[in-house]
């Protein structure tokens, strides 16, 4: 259950951003989580209320976008969608691909109330 450590790290970043903009409360937090990040979005959702208690983000809604897995083939140079344990080229079947997307673990956007 490393989602809690991730959540604490997230809250630290949110805290810094909120302080930088003199926010009074954080309303919405947008994340991008790819399947290959190793993080379960549902677990992150369920620990967030506990981790955010008594922080500036305690009323905040966590909005997580699931990202697709995409690969580019090193042999045929085609791009295709792939699944988490089958990162092979969807066009020619070669396994030598590079990951284009799907391992994101990103804080995308923070929406907050400010005094001014």
């Amino acid at each position: 259950m490393h989602e809690l450590s991730i959540c604490q790290s997230l809250l630290k970043q949110i805290g810094n951003i909120a302080a930088e903009h003199n926010a009074t409360a954080v309303e919405n937090v947008y994340l991008q989580v790819g399947p290959l990040s190793g993080i379960e979005p549902e677990l992150l959702q369920s620990v967030f209320p506990f981790a955010s208690a008594n922080t500036i983000a305690e009323q905040a809604k966590l909005i997580i976008s699931a990202m697709p897995i995409r690969v580019r083939c090193k042999t045929c140079f085609g791009e295709s969608e792939a699944s988490i344990n089958r990162l092979v080229c969807g066009l020619c079947g070669d396994w030598q691909t590079e990951l284009l997307a799907g391992d994101e673990l990103l804080l995308e956007r923070v929406e907050m109330r400010t005094d001014h």
Partner: protein, 269 residues
């Protein structure tokens, strides 16, 4: 990883990036800040610092990951026996509780620092940094970091090491890479441990294990090894020798080694 250069931008999210998008106002009047930083950026910064530390002292750092009981400590004991007249070695041991593994390593006359994580299921870069305060890196050639036995959580944390060594014991089933793709995708080397049991087990096919690893677009070498009989050990030891030399030689010309998975992450977010 990087907050400013745009390396977090992938085909999946680039539509979100706007030239003037730094601070905007939502319909409800709230202030909105577009960020795109990695949630583990704090750990990653510490990891980079740790790696600089290792590089400054020309020490190769290896992160050993596997399920509990796949033979990480036994492999270290056998590797120390084979290498201790050639290289100076230290070990950082990660476990939820006990000093048992560190004691086994110390019995070989090698410095071992035990990190007991309590309930934490993985090591992170900060824990490794704290452990480094108890190790004199100056005379060392290799630091092995034995991560907490767990095929899930440790995969997400860069410790500042150079290579990920993942053990898959032949008693576990050859489809483990398909079941734990995030972990096995991170392997720079996969060791099939307890290979002396292959004949007894019967249904573990090393070819299948390698096939499942390749399906993750991972070209890492695969070495069957038995710490008990010494079978395959020389291949692993030769790999180690090569990496120690390559690392030291590379540093002379400013070449740095980082785990392949971190390289991939730098370009994809």
């Amino acid at each position: 990883m990087c907050d400013t250069c745009g390396c977090n931008i992938t085909p999946g999210n680039k539509h979100l990036i706007q030239a003037n998008g730094k601070l905007a106002t939502t319909e409800s009047g709230a202030a909105a800040v577009d960020v795109l930083t990695n949630l583990l950026s704090e750990n990653d910064h510490q990891a980079i610092h740790n790696r600089e530390h290792f590089d400054k002292h020309q020490v190769l750092a290896l992160n050993l990951m596997s399920s509990p009981g796949s033979g990480k400590t036994a492999l270290l004991e056998a590797s120390i026996d084979a290498l201790q007249h050639e290289f100076n070695i230290a070990v950082i041991e990660g476990d939820l509780e006990t000093e048992n593994d560190a004691k086994r390593i110390r019995a070989k006359g090698v410095t071992a620092i035990q990190i007991t994580t309590g309930s934490a299921c993985h090591l992170d870069a900060h824990m490794v940094h704290d452990a480094l305060h108890h190790i004199n890196l100056e005379p060392l050639d290799i630091v092995f970091i034995e991560n907490v036995g767990n095929l899930v959580c440790p995969a997400s944390f860069d410790l500042g090491h150079h290579y990920n060594i993942i053990l898959l014991s032949v008693t576990e089933g050859d489809d483990k890479p398909a079941k734990y793709p995030v972990m096995f995708r991170a392997a720079d080397l996969m060791l099939l441990s307890k290979s002396d049991l292959l004949q007894v087990i019967g249904d573990f096919d090393p070819g299948n294990a390698e096939h499942h690893l390749r399906q993750l677009a991972n070209a890492a070498p695969v070495i069957p090894v038995s710490s008990r009989t010494g079978d395959g050990l020389s291949v692993w030891i030769d790999w180690l020798r090569r990496q120690v030399k390559q690392h030291k030689r590379g540093l002379l010309i400013g070449e740095r080694i980082i785990p392949n998975i971190q390289l991939l992450r730098n370009t994809t977010g």
